[in-house]
Structures are given as C-alpha cells and as structure tokens.
C-alpha cells in the first residue's frame, strides 16, 4: 500500500466512525442527568475502585437502555487515588459542577472522612459504596451523606446475636490497639451486653505483638466460653496457636479483618477448624440479586472483576437513579428522598436508611472455618449439625 492510499483508508475509517456515532444517538433526546462516581482508579487498591466503577457504570448503562426511564444518565467517574488530598480535590470538582445531581463515592475511609464536609457545604447528596468507618455517617449530622454497605457496628450486632443464639454465655476479648481493633471491641461489647452475654476480661495488644502468654494465661484462669479477637490475620494466627499451647479449650471468634486465606496458611493441623468470623457484604452469588448482577456484568464484558464491593456500588447507583427518576435531578429533592428510604429493593437486599443515612439492614455474612476454607455458615456442616462448634 502506498502512503497516500493508507492515509485515505485512515480517513475513511475515521469518517465511518464519526458517522456511526452520530447515527446511534437516540432520535428522541431525553434530558441528560450527570451522576458522579469517586473511587481509587489508580494506586494500590485500584482493583476495588475499578470494580466499583464498572458496577456503577453497569447500573447507568442498564437504566439508559430502559425505555421507561425519564432521563438519560451520564456517569462522571473520578479518581481519588485513596488519598484524602486528591479526594478533596475531586469531591470539590464534582460538588461544584451544577450539572451533577448526586454521586456514589469512596472506598477508602480516610478519604470519605475528608470529603463529607464538602458534600455538605455544596449540598451534594452522596451514597458511600465501600468505606466502612462508622464515623463517616455517625460522626456528623449531614443529611447529604448515606451509605449502603455495612460498618463494624452492623457486623458486631450480627456477631453478638449469632453467638448468643449458639448458646455461649461468657467471653474474653483480645483486641489490637488500632482504630480498627478498638472500634470492634467497643461495638461488640455494647451489643453483647445488650443481649445478655458476659464479658470476663478485655485485653488490648499492640498490632505487632509476638507473644501473648501473659494475656492468655489470665484468660485460661477466667475460663470463658469464647475468645473474641478483634484484629488482623497475622495476630489471629499467633493467638490461635498460643491458645492451643496453653490448652485453652474455648471457641475462637474473629472479625472481618481475619477472613483471609492466610489464616489457614499460618496454622498447622486442624487448629483453624471451627473458627467463626463475620464479614460485611456477601459473595455476589449469595446476594438476593446476585445471579442477575453477575450475568449482566459478564455480558457487559468489563476487563476487571467487580470485587467485593462492586455489588454495593451497583446498588448505590441504582438507588440514586431511582431517586432522580422519582423527584427529578434536583440536589435538595434527592437528599430529601434519600432521607426516607425504607425497604428499597436492591440486589444486596432491602435498603433502609436510619437518621444518619446508614443502611440499617446492611448485609453481614457469617463464615466458619471448615477443612481449611472459609465456608458461609448456612452452607457449612456445622449448620447442618454434622459438626459441632467447641462447647466446653
């Protein structure tokens, strides 16, 4: 091919492309409403951000295909890099753009903490799709801020309910001294005392402690039914090993931070067997609308997985679109609509916001360690009665 010929081909291709784009725009133009999405699209947790972005995009695309939709929706995805300063920048950008009616924002808690003030200042209604720190919704009185995913509060409420129902009476608590461990301790203690469980002792440990003999010897003396640990996997592995060494026969209960496969890699033999833990959300397949979500996601052909919080981003975006459909693309009206959301149907189960905009029926899944794997409690041999949790 000569040079001119190839240039002509390129030109022709460009023209065809331009023509086809102009032809596919719908003949009957609806009013376009812009909706924001913020998440970490680059950096260390970008897989989460991209999964969330794709899911939000899916929600928008599906609605745009619906002929009954009153508006055409356009997603404005922005990258917060999981950094509060960048988050503040993009939140300002989104909130000051008058065409944006609402947004689904943030996977990283520190970023969300930095940006809620901005949403409040500019009256932009937002729904958090991934950040878990309770203070994001409970640390302020902002009507604009909502959240569909659960927090450690919901997790511990479910945990306390579940364990009391299993017939356990007394607990010893070990928590690491980070915000994460301390928060879990606070909420678990609160819910457990409400349900009538008894706490025999609480022990704070640093997040890199190696030896727990002092704490565990004391716990052996207290002789609780359950040892509750709030912290991350590496510590959980050490504590479980040393419990065995000291001959503590109590059931071992954990939090979301230790639901990882590293727990089994670190423990020899069947030490892990029967450990229970809790996690916000659920595997997509277990969600009420999970099958629908997964098949649509596959059909859309995204390059990345939807990851753990994708379904929440999808549900949040859908809820936001429902709000706009109902009350129109007006920020104040959308905020008002979101304040009264009760049992709103979504793929993650019904959504109900409390007076702080927190979803109160947030989904929490119970897991039990069975044969070197985390198995959803309802599917496990423990629930079917084939195996027994430790009761002394």
């Amino acid at each position: 091919m000569t040079r001119t010929a190839s240039r002509r081909t390129v030109l022709a291709a460009a023209l065809t492309a331009a023509l086809s784009i102009s032809l596919t725009t719908p003949a009957l133009a609806k009013e376009t409403v812009k909706l924001g999405f913020i998440g970490p699209l680059t950096g260390g947790v970008s897989n989460m951000g991209l999964g969330g972005r794709n899911s939000a995009e899916l929600a928008v695309d599906l609605r745009n295909k619906d002929e009954n939709a009153k508006y055409a929706y356009e997603l404005v995805p922005l990258d917060d890099e999981c950094k509060p300063n960048v988050g503040v920048q993009v939140a300002t950008k989104l909130a000051t753009n008058r065409d944006v009616a609402g947004a689904v924002t943030h996977y990283c808690s520190a970023v969300a903490m930095g940006t809620v003030d901005i949403y409040h200042k500019f009256n932009l209604p937002i729904i958090v799709w991934g950040a878990v720190l309770p203070d994001i919704t409970y640390g302020n009185e902002y009507a604009e801020v909502h959240r569909v995913n659960g927090t450690m509060i919901n997790q511990n409420e479910v945990a306390a309910d579940f364990m009391v129902a299993q017939g356990y009476k007394s607990w010893a608590i070990i928590h690491d001294t980070t915000d994460y461990g301390k928060g879990h301790n606070t909420y678990f203690t609160k819910f457990l005392t409400e349900k009538g469980g008894k706490i025999l002792g609480t022990f704070g440990v640093t997040s890199d402690q190696q030896d727990f003999t002092a704490e565990l010897t004391k716990i052996k003396e207290l002789n609780p039914d359950v040892v509750y640990f709030a912290g991350l996997t590496p510590l959980a592995v050490r504590i479980r090993q040393q419990m065995d060494k000291l001959g503590i026969e109590a059931e071992f209960q954990g939090v979301s931070g230790m639901k990882s496969d590293a727990y089994f890699a670190g423990l020899s033999g069947d030490l892990a067997e029967g450990t229970v833990t809790f996690l916000e959300g659920a595997p997509a397949a277990k969600l009420p609308g999970g099958a629908y979500f997964m098949s649509e996601y596959d059909k859309a052909g995204f390059g990345e997985n939807y990851e753990a919080y994708g379904p929440f981003a999808f549900a949040a975006m859908n809820l936001l679109i429902d709000a706009v459909e109902k009350v129109g693309p007006d920020r104040k009206a959308v905020t008002k609509y979101l304040a009264d959301v009760k049992d709103h149907e979504s793929i993650t189960g019904p959504i109900s916001f409390d007076d702080h905009g927190q979803n109160t029926v947030a989904l929490i899944t119970k897991y039990v360690a069975q044969d070197g794997k985390w198995v959803v409690w309802e599917d496990s041999e423990y629930a079917s009665g084939k195996r027994q949790l430790k009761h002394k």
């Binding site: 970008s46 972005r53 950094k83 503040v88 990283c108 520190a110 930095g114």
Partner: protein
C-alpha cells in the same frame, strides 16, 4: 507555555519590554482558559497550543527577547506577572475548583522552591519533600484543634517544626555525600509515614481534621462578599498562597544572587575545591537544607488548612518524587522553571481525569518525552549574572 500570539518572526520594532508584557498577558489568559477547560477537546487543544507556542517561541527567538525583557526590566516584568496572577484569581472569582487547583499549584511551588535551593543550588537531593510538607500540615492540624495560636503564626510554626525535625537529619545528611544522603532522606520519608500510621495521637491511618485559616477574625472558609457577589472561599486561600509564593520566590531569588548563593553553587560544583577556598561546606549544606524544609513546612501548613483533612496517605514517597520531579522538569536551579513545572505537575494529571485509570500512564509518557527532548529542563537556569539588571555597563 510562552506565548500564543506570535507564530511569525517578531516585528523588530517592538521593544523587549512590550513583547514581555504581551507575553505575560497571553500566559495569564492561557492559564485562565486552561484552569476552566473541562472537555477533552479543550484540554488537549490547549496543551497542544502550549507546546506549539513554546516551540515557536524557541524558533523565532522570542524566548531570547523575553529573557532580555526579564533581565533589563525585572521590576516591570515581575509587577506584571503578579498583577496577572491577581487578575486570574479575580476572574475565577466564584469557581471553587479551579481556584483550589491554583492554590495547590502555588503551594507546591513554594515547596519546590525550597527543594530547588537544596537540590538545584547545593546539589543535595531531598526525597522527603512530602514528609516536610506533611510535618507542616500536621503541625497546623494539631495547633488549630488544640490551641488558640493565631493561624498566621501557625504557618511559621509549621516551617519551624519542619526545620527542627529536619535538624535531626542534618548529621546523617551532611556527613554522607551524593547518593548516600539521598538514601537518608528516602528512609526518613518512609519512616515519617509509618510513624504517622502507628501514632494514635496524630489520628493514625485515618487522619486528622484541620481547622481553617483565620486572619484577625476573617474566617477563610467563608467566601468574601465583593460588591454583593459571594466569591468562592478558595479566593482567600488563593490570595494567601499567592502572597506566600511571591514572598518565597523573592527570598529565594535574593538568596541565589547573594554571596551565600554563590557559596551554595560552588559546593554543588566541587566540595573539595570550595573547602580549599575557605567556604564552610557544612554551613552551606545546613543552610540550604534548613531553608528548604522551612519553605516546605510553611506551604504544608497552609495546604492542610485549605484541604481541611489530612492523612498519612497524602504524604507518601511518591508525593516526594512528584516534588523532586517539579525541580527536575523545570530545570535545576531555575526558579521560573519550577513555577512552570509546578503548573504542569499539579494541573496536568488533574486535567487528565477524563482518562480515568489511564491518566498516570499518559502523564508518565509526557514526563519521559520532556526529559528526552529537553533533558536540561523546560527553562534551564541561565549562567549566573554577577551584575543583575545590566548595571555593570554604567
């Protein structure tokens, strides 16, 4: 980003000062348009225009004329630049986001000027720029929440504490040379972030709220009302950061031109030779290191107040690299270069948000291309002029 009006050879009749003033005005208009640009087409078009104008200015000898203008009429030119900066702020008025970006740029410029004295003049690479910036921000977080220290003083305190903590590093940095002292600063940058993450009192990994700037009862987080119009509250921060940037620029320029600056230059070129000629190498290094850290700390203190929420994640090693890249991109030791590079490094990734996850890819390509085609930096530092303003001819 020199000028976009002249593509043809400049008419000889125009005196350098007039050309310079026109160029400044053109740059201001360009900056204003670029800050407001939203769509892909507008952003890419403006970037292309800037590249073409820069290239054209080089070819037509316009940049040489500009150099002459800056040299002979530095007062008028600097005045014009300050005036156009204020004009851009006034024009943006109610636009929150562009003003936030402008203020961020100016504060990064202040920090970069400090790094320029360390790296460009004295030859000590500081890979912990973001850490010193962060020390300033954390100082203002602690002081605004727990004490009633007037916020203007907090800015100074930010610089002072950055200098004090930097003083801990002086021994290892001064005693090691070249790459080794760079490694010391890298270690410090990483250590700083880890320290913040495990430190409960300073908010841990979740970060801290920062109080707002407040000058004699004028709260910076309320928009000023001008002739019945409420301006963006970022106007306050933009004005204050302009003030800081101008002050830091003037001070750094004086330092560069003074005998101290000469000593710093000679330390960079050859330590042994400078020592032989009686220059106190240790003192020169301590001076440059402390000066740079103070500037970074002050800029960080104001940045924290403006952003109003900080966390260790905002002051990582990669942010330090970004600051060093401002100095490199602009040209070692070139103050105007740093100003231009601060605009590029802060603004371009933000304008590339439209590309979502691919934006840093394109940004990196841009940086590599620039280093390939202009390894000496965008506005390389000229040969030291011993008699500024051409007074030697008198």
């Amino acid at each position: 980003m020199k000028d976009d009006v002249m593509k043809t050879p400049i008419p000889v009749s125009l005196p350098p000062l007039a050309t310079g003033l026109i160029a400044v005005a053109a740059c201001a208009i360009f900056g204003w348009l670029f800050l407001l640009a939203e769509s892909e087409v507008a952003v890419l078009g403006l970037v292309l225009l800037a590249v073409l104008a820069g290239w054209g200015a080089q070819k037509t000898g316009l940049s040489a004329t500009l150099g002459t203008a800056m040299h002979q009429h530095s007062g008028a030119m600097n005045g014009a630049i300050v005036a156009s900066l204020l004009a851009v702020i006034a024009l943006l008025g109610t636009e929150h986001f562009p003003l936030l970006m402008l203020s961020t740029m100016l504060l990064y410029l202040v920090a970069a000027l400090g790094l320029n004295v360390q790296f460009g003049l004295t030859g000590m690479v500081n890979f912990a720029g973001a850490a010193f910036f962060g020390i300033g921000a954390y100082t203002s977080a602690v002081l605004t929440t727990h004490t009633a220290v007037p916020p203007l003083l907090i800015l100074l305190a930010g610089g002072l504490i950055a200098a004090l903590i930097g003083a801990l590093l002086i021994v290892p940095v001064v005693r090691t040379a070249g790459h080794y002292s760079a490694v010391v600063t890298i270690a410090f940058g990483v250590l700083f972030k880890t320290f913040l993450e495990v430190n409960e009192v300073l908010g841990g990994p979740q970060g801290l709220m920062v109080g707002s700037m407040n000058v004699f009862g004028w709260d910076f987080n309320n928009g000023p009302v001008l002739m019945g119009h409420e301006m963006s509250f970022y106007v306050n921060y933009a004005l204050l950061s302009s003030g800081l940037a101008i002050l830091a620029f003037a001070l750094t320029r004086r330092l560069e031109r003074s005998w101290l600056g000469l000593a710093l230059d000679s330390v960079r070129l050859d330590e042994t030779a400078s020592a032989c000629f009686g220059i106190n190498v240790v003192r020169a290094k301590v001076l440059a290191f402390t000066y740079g850290n103070i500037l970074a700390g002050i800029a960080g203190a104001l940045y924290g107040m403006m952003i109003s929420f900080i966390a260790p994640n905002s002051f990582t090693f990669s942010d330090s690299l970004l600051m060093v890249s401002i100095v490199l991109l602009g040209g070692l030791g070139s103050l105007w270069g740093s100003a231009l590079a601060a605009v590029i490094v802060v603004l371009v990734p933000e304008k590339l948000q439209i590309l979502q996850e691919y934006r840093f890819l394109l940004f990196s390509v841009l940086v590599i291309a620039m280093l390939l085609f202009r390894p000496q930096g965008l506005l390389p530092r000229g040969v030291r002029s011993y008699f500024p303003g051409g007074r030697a001819q008198r």
